[in-house]
Symmetry: C2
């Protein structure tokens, strides 16, 4: 055990947490772990859907910022992390069959097979880091809640079997920091980038901010303005709606911790 | 005259229009002349106010994007234009004494003296060019009107005798282009840059959009959102309010045409 601890001292914080997750020593949500390291959404699909899904991602880059696609049948990452095994290195998964949630395991080794392809997609945690660094309050983080997410009237660009509405996350921002928040997140195009809408939720088909479709109700302080960003839940929601045979995703909040730094995503 | 015409053929468009203005051949507004060349606001002050005014500009860069300050007593530009004489190369001027408009001449040679300093400040025409290039409609240009401008409840940072509220210009933007307009104008920090406010005029002390303090009433189409930028009228308004002994400015819409290209102002 002492030897193991010493070996871990030379690891990156991201690698350490992945190792703990793999060893069953860490099973919780990943918000705030390995500070500075970017986290990613996981979608695993059978090969027959992989082309359509990749095309869907390519046609909808704001909600689906692609970080890596594994080789068919391989659960190992090559680009976003060294030595990561996507079957074991995420704290909790969700398994869907024909659009229905059927299991929520902490390991997907028994589900894995040579026909699967894994997609890792950028996560808004990275730009929330940029907002906080810039002194912009992030209300749901202050309140230790999940971000509120809403289905909009904006349609994604369909590809094969994948089609459906854009899902957005909402952060209410003090009115005098909205422009700053907009410009700062524009610097991070590979993790959702600039907002898709500012100020008038009904214009994008959201009629009750207090009833989000996913996540927790918002905290909106006086003189806050609601600002909406494309959300990484979109591709998962679209895949679920498309009622495909089989899909595995991470469980909400239980993300894949990459070896990439949040600041690596800044365009300039 | 033929020789003169030939000489003009080798001039930049900006230099040509300045020469025509100097020769009294052009006396109108400068909107749309010498396309692609940036235009500038003029403020001329006695030396005793110059330090305070420069400090005011330095403390309020968004409404006062400084392009050049002439040497004391010199009416000639060195940085923004070759061979320009600020006493003759602007189509129309305004002369103020103790905060009152006393003259609107087309030439200020008779007012010029060795104690004066000229300030050239960036103009929103440059970022309107960027908006139009990006396919974002600019309603007052479409309607051939002046932009509406409003006095806000936001105070500028005072310096010496100069103090007063921020003046903003308003452009109503289709809701699905607001983020794009925000990010595009952020690329032009030396010509007012990103907006100061998006969406809720009452939060910055504007209660009737249809009654601007300067310029023409706005045209706001369905699903447009009002977006507000710091306005170059601010330093002039502040100088007028401060009731200083003497000041010369350009007459609204009758700007100084520089040799700089609008695109030169893009930060990236």
């Amino acid at each position: 055990m002492v030897v193991l601890e010493k070996a871990r001292c030379n690891m990156k914080e991201s690698e350490k947490i992945r190792r703990k997750i793999r060893d069953g020593e860490f099973v919780g949500q990943t918000s705030g772990v390995a500070p500075g390291y970017a986290q990613a959404n996981l979608v695993v699909l059978p090969k027959k859907y992989a082309f359509d899904f990749l095309l869907f991602i390519q046609r909808n880059p704001k909600p689906c910022p692609l970080l890596e696609v594994t080789d068919v049948g391989s659960p190992y990452t090559k680009q976003v992390a060294d030595n990561a095994d996507l079957r074991t290195d995420i704290p909790k998964y969700r398994v869907y069959e024909k659009g229905k949630l059927v299991d929520e395991p902490i390991d997907i080794t028994s589900y894995w097979n040579d026909d699967l392809v894994a997609f890792l997609l950028g996560c808004s945690f990275s730009f929330e880091w940029a907002l906080l660094e810039a002194g912009i309050p992030v209300r749901h983080i202050e309140a230790n809640r999940n971000v509120p997410m809403y289905i909009t009237n904006i349609q994604t660009n369909p590809a094969g079997v994948f089609h459906g509405p854009l899902v957005v996350s909402m952060r209410s921002i003090p009115y005098d920091l909205v422009v700053k928040a907009t410009n700062i997140t524009a610097r991070f195009p590979s993790v959702h980038g600039a907002p898709v809408h500012i100020g008038y939720p009904e214009l994008i088909g959201i009629y009750n901010l207090n009833k989000p479709d996913y996540g927790d109700p918002p905290i909106i302080k006086e003189n806050d303005i609601p600002v909406f960003w494309a959300c990484g839940v979109t591709p998962q929601a679209v895949a679920v709606n498309s009622k495909i045979d089989f899909m595995i995703t991470h469980s909400p909040g239980h993300m894949f911790v990459t070896d990439l730094k949040n600041q690596d995503f800044a365009l300039f």
